[in-house]
């Protein structure tokens, strides 16, 4: 398979290495000679010097025959232009990295369909979604995100004295678009239809958009409202986190040293408290009662500041004999994530890793995109993609093996509830929970659906 990558930066080189190891033919384009020379040295890829937004350069890279075009230079404009050009020249799938937040303003997500580009991915949004998923882990038994963070699954364990005890999963008051995927008991996942009455210790599998899942946890009593979260760093990631947390009924404070950025944040996010100060200054942190927060999320652009603040909060808590809040950090460079995990930070989101993973998933052919094991269960949640040619089919046309359940259908970042009459389209993303041995049968069912259609 031929893959063209525009931009030989850290992400571009990392992807080129991975894809070439998987046996693909990779062409790497960059304007600058230095990163290309580095890539040439260590990777078995073809390098090409030139402008990504030039038809001639793309033609020389052979995008017309390429199965995928990945545009990950540092410039949004070049990425969008390069990906759109490649698509018009015949590339199979086009993915562009777009970090400018204004691309995502408004109601409809712009990830799909703009200028024929299949996926527009934003590393800050992906990182924020990853951190929110990680934060969910402190409340739920298990949380995982799929489809670039647009769908979440979670396991909610019924507590000893929970009022839902004795009722069926259908009686739970869940937000719209959140579905029950099954009830896990004794290592066995029962499908929601005909599921038994809930007993303490049962784990209910929930799936839906992240906001919906968070709301479900709030309603089920797992997640108290009004907890105090301090977000260190008022960049794009910090802004998304603070905004999402306040929308979910939580209190968010953003710490940012830059005056003008603070004013912009205060203007954009009316419900968020914006605090101006240096997050590495102990006196300032004491002043804002930093260590009394329920959670601390460090997402500045500087790795050392993120690490330092999470260490300082522990120092302050030790002085005050308080419990340490949950700590989460974002890291930007490859390989730093492990370091953070080692020093005991609860959640680490590497913008580099989440972006790479999202890009690799985006260029996967139809079929199984990824699979995720549910802890303590012999069941997996699989992320599958329908063939681009699929049309005139509904969800009930998929002949799934017994015991498998569709959790969600994601289309253009919108999560659709899996009712049987839901019309399926090309390149829809399906989340299916099934025993691992049934996965090939599920994949076959989807493939046959596309073929029967033709």
């Amino acid at each position: 398979v031929r893959i063209v990558i525009g931009g030989a930066g850290e992400v571009g080189r990392h992807l080129a290495g991975m894809l070439s190891q998987q046996g693909h033919d990779v062409v790497l384009i960059d304007e600058h000679a230095d990163p290309l020379a580095q890539a040439e040295e260590g990777l078995d890829v073809q390098v090409l010097s030139g402008d990504l937004a030039s038809r001639r350069v793309l033609g020389r890279a052979g995008v017309g025959q390429a199965d995928a075009m990945i545009a990950v230079t540092g410039s949004d404009d070049a990425n969008v232009l390069g990906a759109a050009l490649a698509r018009s020249m015949g590339a199979g799938v086009a993915v562009a990295r777009v970090d400018q937040p204004t691309f995502y303003e408004g109601d409809g997500p712009a990830e799909h369909g703009l200028l024929g580009i299949d996926h527009l991915l934003c590393s800050t949004r992906l990182t924020a979604a990853e951190i929110l998923t990680l934060m969910g882990r402190s409340e739920a038994t298990h949380v995982h995100g799929f489809c670039a963070g647009s769908v979440q699954i979670a396991l909610w364990t019924v507590a000893e004295d929970h009022p839902a005890r004795g009722s069926t999963p259908h009686d739970l008051s869940l937000p719209r678009r959140v579905v029950v995927g099954g009830v896990a008991r004794d290592g066995f996942l029962r499908p929601p239809e005909g599921a038994p009455r809930l007993e303490p210790g049962d784990a209910v599998l929930l799936a839906g958009p992240p906001d919906g899942v968070a709301e479900a946890f709030t309603r089920l009593g797992g997640l108290p409202r009004g907890r105090r979260h301090v977000v260190v760093g008022g960049g794009e990631i910090g802004a998304i986190l603070a905004d999402t947390l306040t929308r979910r009924g939580q209190r968010a404070e953003v710490v940012e040293p830059d005056r003008r950025r603070c004013e912009a944040l205060a203007a954009d996010l009316p419900k968020v408290s914006v605090l101006r100060g240096d997050p590495t200054d102990l006196a300032f942190l004491r002043d804002i009662r930093f260590h009394e927060a329920d959670s601390v999320v460090a997402v500045t652009h500087q790795e050392e500041v993120n690490l330092l603040t999470t260490l300082l909060v522990r120092q302050l808590d030790r002085e005050a004999h308080l419990a340490v809040p949950h700590t989460y950090v974002s890291v930007h460079r490859h390989g730093y994530a492990d370091l953070c995990r080692k020093i005991g930070i609860e959640g680490t989101a590497s913008s580099f890793e989440v972006l790479s993973r999202a890009i690799l998933e985006a260029i996967e052919p139809p079929g199984v995109v990824s699979r995720h094991e549910l802890p303590g269960l012999a069941w997996i949640v699989a992320h599958l993609r329908t063939a681009p040619s699929l049309r005139d089919a509904t969800l009930s046309d998929v002949s799934l093996p017994p015991g498998t359940t569709v959790l969600a259908v994601s289309r253009r970042e919108q999560v659709l509830s899996p009712r049987p009459s839901l019309p399926l389209q090309g390149s829809d993303e399906l989340l299916v929970v099934c025993p691992p041995r049934d996965l090939p049968a599920v994949e076959r069912a989807l493939r046959e659906l596309a073929r029967a259609d033709r």
Binding site: S273, V274, L275, R276, F284
Partner: protein, 482 residues
């Protein structure tokens, strides 16, 4: 400043005034009063002559658009000339023979103040009474705005003129072209005036009185055709109608334009509107509580309270009762309400509700900042964030306004007025309310104020109407520097 351009544009403004003078002239001719005919014909002719003279003096101004400084010059010069032109027929018609009194009456007219030096309004000619109310109407929306709406060839200069005259905070234009904005505002204004006049006529006023009172109400002026003001009519319907239209005149005219375009929810969510309505409701409540024990709680008491409160907060200054006879609590409330005035973008004067609201929000922010010194807090009006320079502008405006009040009232009191009359006269003129308390209260008038005091109050009225800085600008050497 380009003096030729200023003279030339001011000449054009005078052309508009000369045209407006034809209306009272027509009434004078219809009534067959030779003195009034002579007065208005002579003024119209003199104004036309003045306009031609200014155009000639200002010829070869280069024909280029107006600079920002020139716009201030045109507005300030126009308003000074308006006072003279307005005073002329009042003197010639023997309505106010004293030149200072006549100037005061005319400035009070054009600035929509409604403070009068005429003790017996009933004895004035119909032409003069129409002229007094017409000055309110023209001054309310702004003579220069009218001029912008009428003359298409102004170009960018029109925007500068508009900004210099229209009261209130900087806001987004209603239309892409300033001429369209100006003409739509005038259409809305004229339409509301026609509606008010026809309602009053249906409720039993004579057509002449209805038109005069509609002019006076929509301009938030306060001149009436009767000495007893609106109190001369004892119809509750007329009182309620005028009260309603005073409120309409005290709200932002941009809102009506929004309503016409169907943006009802957006208009109802306007935070200045909400604040202003709440403020008025509380004042009415306060006045009802104060006067209730004497008069009993009936429709008449509520109507009286609503009318008096709206007359003060919309800075119109009509009355159906003498609020100076109210208990001190109510008098104090009304005195303080004079400072606030109406909404930005209305024909009312005062500090404006939006500024007072912002002032409160800035104070609340300071309070929060003392508790949490690191917090960065944005001040909002509705959903929109108010930029820091605008907040500073509001603070400076309020400070200057209060400074002007302090200075002028000290001058008046030192000149022999008593404390209550002097202070209330100053704010009643500065906020264009009209009647104050004490000697200048609803039962009195401004005739007894000394000539010097009248000039000081004229300055206050102009400063209040032009939002202080447009007038003060002409005293700044910066503006005159080339």
């Amino acid at each position: 400043v380009n003096p030729r351009a200023v003279l030339s544009f001011t000449g054009l403004v005078l052309v508009v005034v000369a045209a407006i003078l034809i209306l009272p002239l027509g009434v004078a001719i219809a009534d067959g009063q030779p003195r009034a005919i002579r007065a208005y014909a002579a003024t119209a002719a003199l104004t036309g002559f003045g306009a031609v003279a200014l155009r000639i003096a200002g010829r070869r101004s280069g024909g280029v658009g107006l600079h920002r400084k020139d716009a201030f010059g045109v507005v300030a010069l126009s308003w000074l000339l308006l006072g003279v032109v307005g005073a002329l027929p009042l003197m010639l018609d023997r309505a106010v023979p004293d030149p200072f009194g006549a100037l005061f009456e005319a400035v009070s007219g054009f600035t929509t103040t409604g403070a009068t030096v005429v003790a017996d309004v009933d004895s004035l000619s119909r032409a003069t009474n129409l002229w007094r109310c017409l000055m309110h109407w023209v001054g309310g929306m702004g003579i220069v705005v009218l001029f912008v709406a009428v003359f298409p060839q102004l170009g960018v200069g029109a925007k500068q003129l508009f900004k210099a005259e229209v009261p209130g905070l900087p806001s987004e234009g209603l239309r892409p072209r300033i001429r369209e904005t100006a003409s739509r505002l005038w259409w809305v204004y004229a339409g509301l005036t026609a509606l008010c006049a026809s309602l009053l006529w249906l409720e039993g006023m004579s057509a002449y009185d209805a038109v005069c009172h509609a002019f006076s109400t929509l301009g938030s002026g306060g001149f009436s055709t009767r000495t007893a003001s609106v109190g001369a009519w004892e119809s509750p319907a007329i009182h309620w109608t005028i009260a309603a239209f005073m409120l309409i005149a005290g709200l932002n005219f941009g809102l009506y334009y929004g309503l016409l375009r169907g943006r009802v929810r957006e208009v109802l969510r306007n935070s200045e509107l909400r604040f202003y309505l709440l403020f008025n409701t509380l004042l009415v409540l306060g006045v009802v509580i104060a006067i209730g024990p004497q008069r009993g709680l009936g429709e008449a008491t509520v109507r009286e309270a609503v009318f008096q409160v709206l007359a003060v907060t919309t800075t119109t200054g009509f009355m159906t009762a003498d609020f100076d006879t109210y208990p001190d609590g109510a008098r104090m409330l009304l005195f303080l309400a004079m400072f606030v005035g109406g909404c930005a973008g209305s024909t009312a004067g005062g500090l404006k509700a939006a500024r007072v609201l912002l002032l409160g929000k800035v104070a609340a922010r300071e309070l929060r900042a003392t508790a949490n010194p690191h917090a960065v807090i944005a001040v909002r009006l509705g959903h929109a964030v108010v930029p820091e320079p605008v907040l500073i502008g509001v603070l400076v405006f309020v400070t200057t306004y209060l400074g002007l009040f302090a200075l002028a009232s000290v001058v008046l009191v030192a000149g022999g007025m008593d404390l209550v009359s002097g202070a209330s006269a100053t704010i009643a003129c500065l906020s264009s309310v009209g009647p104050g308390l004490g000697a200048v209260g609803p039962s009195g008038n401004y005739a007894a104020v000394s000539a010097f005091g009248k000039l000081v109050l004229c300055f206050c009225m102009l400063a209040g109407r032009l939002e202080v800085f447009a007038l003060l600008a002409i005293f700044s050497p910066e503006v005159w520097r080339r």
